[in-house]
């Protein structure tokens, strides 16, 4: 008979012996080198972790390759990280180098630990989502190529997390990332009056708009909606509930870049990422403008932040005015908040740098 609600496999059935044996007894760790962690247990046991980068959007062949490596060096176990890297764990120091070789052969870069740029948390984009204002995996590939050395080296002041979401739904939960790339529309939806009635619940559609820009069609005979364009901020809520009002537009869609967010509670509390570039056009296949801005920010940060300072902590210390000056990124109207808590972002002091 059919099984339902069995839930996921019990994690205990998935653990390598050394992990099962030392579960809850780890004492300390060290980063042997970029991509290689060593954890030592109260029992004296050690486990080495080799972390390898993955495109996340992978074929089953990729998984099988990884399994082959794990079978050879890790007694048939492996894990994935919260940033989609693959981790190969082994108690045997001797296995580490061969493991790295094997991963090299597969083209899987080893790194992503410590003061580096780890894998980019990202989303679906043009591969699968109807809501995408930009692609995901493609920009991610271009960015990681551009910042590759920072994945395989640990020469930043602290780790730097990059996330990408292909629309402002922000599936990557990019709103608290050191660097965030988000797909944005900049033109209002275009209701398709033929389809609206068929595909959408008009009241729900009208309600869905946070700014009240969606209105009943003035002509009572046309059972559809119109958009008051000056009220529209292109959030796509209406599109989420009503497919008949697409926003996608080759010219008007692109990405915005946000910076300075963090999640950890280390030193400074978690912070939101904040706008640094309001709009860059979609230039597939490699989005050069996007890659350049990110590289520039990373450069300036790496050169001037103190040890342990996250990007956002550094910006808070030097001030946003200094950040824009040093990165030579132009400051625009769009940077100034005009949403619900806007006033809380105004500078209510005479303290600022020239």
């Amino acid at each position: 008979m059919r099984k339902t609600d069995i839930g996921p496999p019990d994690y205990r059935t998935m653990l390598p012996d050394v992990i099962a044996k030392n579960y809850g007894q780890w004492k300390y760790h060290e980063i042997v080198k970029a991509g290689v962690l060593k954890h030592v247990s109260e029992t004296g046991d050690e486990v080495y972790t080799v972390r390898a980068g993955s495109p996340r959007l992978v074929s089953i062949d990729f998984i099988r390759d990884a399994c082959d490596v794990a079978d050879k060096y890790c007694d048939g176990h492996l894990r994935f990280t919260s940033r989609h890297n693959v981790e190969f764990l082994t108690p045997n120091k001797q296995n580490v180098e061969p493991l790295i070789q094997a991963l090299g052969k597969l083209g899987m870069p080893v790194g992503g630990t410590g003061d580096c740029i780890s894998n980019i948390v990202h989303t679906q984009g043009w591969i699968h989502c109807h809501s995408a204002a930009t692609d995901a995996s493609g920009i991610v590939k271009a960015i990681m190529d551009g910042l590759y050395d920072h994945f395989t080296n640990m020469k930043l002041p602290n780790h730097l997390r990059i996330s990408l979401a292909c629309c402002i739904n922000m599936c990557g939960a990019i709103h608290c990332s050191d660097l965030a790339v988000v797909g944005v529309h900049t033109k209002p939806p275009r209701p398709d009056h033929q389809k609206v009635l068929a595909q959408c619940e008009i009241p729900t559609t009208i309600q869905s708009c946070p700014t009240g820009a969606v209105r009943r069609h003035p002509d009572a005979n046309i059972k559809s909606v119109v958009v008051k364009e000056d009220l529209c901020m292109y959030c796509a809520n209406c599109f989420t509930v009503c497919p008949a009002m697409p926003l996608a537009d080759a010219e008007a869609d692109g990405v915005a870049i946000y910076a300075g967010g963090k999640v950890s509670n280390a030193r400074k509390p978690p912070m939101f990422s904040r706008m640094v570039v309001p709009f860059l056009p979609n230039h597939p296949p490699r989005w050069p403008e996007v890659v350049d801005v990110l590289k520039k920010i990373v450069e300036v940060y790496a050169a001037s932040a103190k040890p342990s300072e996250r990007l956002g902590e550094w910006i808070e210390r030097i001030g946003w005015e200094a950040f824009f000056r040093r990165t030579e990124i132009p400051f625009t109207e769009q940077h100034i908040d005009d949403f619900t808590h806007a006033v809380e972002t105004y500078r209510t002091t005479t303290q600022f740098k020239w």
Binding site: I6, P8, Y11, M14, I60, V121, Y148, A173
Partner: protein
């Protein structure tokens, strides 16, 4: 229509592993992946997506776990006319035996595109692209293999945990055990959407928050400790002898001036009352410093992305909760929260937005938790008070 993909081919260049290579590999055996490649190339030309909203598709008895997708040009890309994804609930902490993984791969080779996300941003295994007909048989074989669907829609989403005690010395709670238990307890809430909107639970073993729970979970569980962090002064000396500038790197970075360096005795002095357990000093000296021994978790609520009223970081609801099976206190709290949210929440209104609308005071009364200063950074500045 041409199979050339000049634009995508550009993305096979460069040192970072290429997802385009991956699609091409899958395309060797999967016609769907072949059309996936072609439709992606199309999007690279047009610079717009070619996917449409999915209708309600799924497996019998479930309202969640499948994201329906159709392409907008079936005539051009027949093999991805329907291209639904299945969200497969990962084992807590994302550990796998190769046996289990190979099994999933085999099933997906049989029923799907052969393309996957390891993992989705919430934590599930994403099996990317199959037809409506294949959903049920694929699901049946997956359950046979011991896997089940995760959440989607207005349901509890697949909970996630950091690696925690499995491989981290700082885990104050057993995140994987907790998340596995909650996932098993709430199978119905995960598979059958019935709420105003989605609800997410994530657990990190310490304030480093390696699953970004505070930013992404309506219900955020973060391990912490009540007593003083542990200092091994000998190991501290070792760091200093090895040349660490402990004052500038550690002491001066303590957010609350809870640390001092005693030059004379070359010992690290802690004002335990002033420590806010930010982890920084521990992070800097893993061999010398460790969390305390009275372990538990801080419960925070409200984390979410911007839709609709703006993003929220979770805020403190319960400063300290002991975390021991069967986690009764936590489950009772979740029940109260869900009841209140279910009763008052509008469609597509996340917990944080409901609290913003109705007021934290009302919420605290509903879940009967008494107000403590730890819930806020600062008291109100305005004089607009209800009595």
């Amino acid at each position: 229509m041409s199979d050339e993909t000049p634009l995508l081919d550009e993305l096979e260049k460069g040192p970072w592993p290429s997802y385009v290579k991956e699609i091409k590999r899958a395309a060797k055996r999967s016609p769907a992946s072949k059309d996936l490649l072609r439709i992606q190339e199309q999007s690279y030309k047009d610079r717009v997506t070619h996917w449409k909203h999915g209708g309600i598709v799924g497996v019998t008895g479930y309202g969640a776990g499948v994201i329906g997708r159709y392409c907008d040009a079936p005539e051009k890309f027949p093999e991805v006319t329907a291209f639904h994804t299945m969200r497969i609930n990962q084992p807590a902490g994302w550990f796998y035996t190769t046996k289990a993984l190979r099994k999933v791969c085999d099933i997906w080779e049989k029923y799907g595109s052969g393309m996957t996300n390891f993992h989705g941003a919430t934590g599930d295994i994403i099996l990317l692209g199959t037809t409506t007909e294949n959903l049920q048989p694929c699901f049946d074989e997956l359950t046979e293999a011991g896997f089940d669907l995760g959440g989607s829609g207005s349901a509890l989403r697949t909970p996630a945990a950091c690696v925690g005690q499995a491989r981290c010395e700082w885990a104050n709670i057993d995140t994987m055990a907790l998340i596995h238990d909650l996932t098993m307890t709430y199978q119905d809430e995960i598979h059958r959407p019935r709420w105003p909107y989605k609800f997410k639970i994530k657990a990190s073993g310490c304030p480093n928050d390696c699953v970004a729970a505070i930013a992404r979970a309506d219900f955020t569980i973060i391990g912490t400790w009540r007593d003083a962090l542990r200092i091994d002064q000998a190991a501290v000396k070792q760091y200093v002898n090895d040349g660490m500038d402990i004052v500038s790197l550690v002491v001066n970075n303590c957010p609350t001036e809870a640390l001092a360096w005693n030059e004379k005795s070359s010992t690290l002095v802690l004002k335990a009352d002033d420590c806010v357990r930010c982890m920084h000093c521990i992070n800097m000296m893993p061999k010398a410093l460790r969390p305390g021994l009275q372990k538990g978790a801080t419960i925070l609520i409200g984390g979410k992305a911007p839709i609709l009223k703006g993003a929220n970081l979770s805020w403190v609801l319960v400063p300290f909760m002991e975390i021991t099976p069967p986690y009764t206190e936590m489950k009772e709290l979740l029940a109260k929260i869900w009841d209140w949210w279910d009763e008052h929440g509008k469609t597509r209104e996340r917990l944080a937005e409901l609290i913003e609308r109705i007021g934290l005071k009302e919420f605290l009364r509903a879940v009967d938790i008494k107000p403590v200063p730890q819930m806020i950074n600062k008291p109100r500045a305005n004089p607009y008070v209800f009595f």
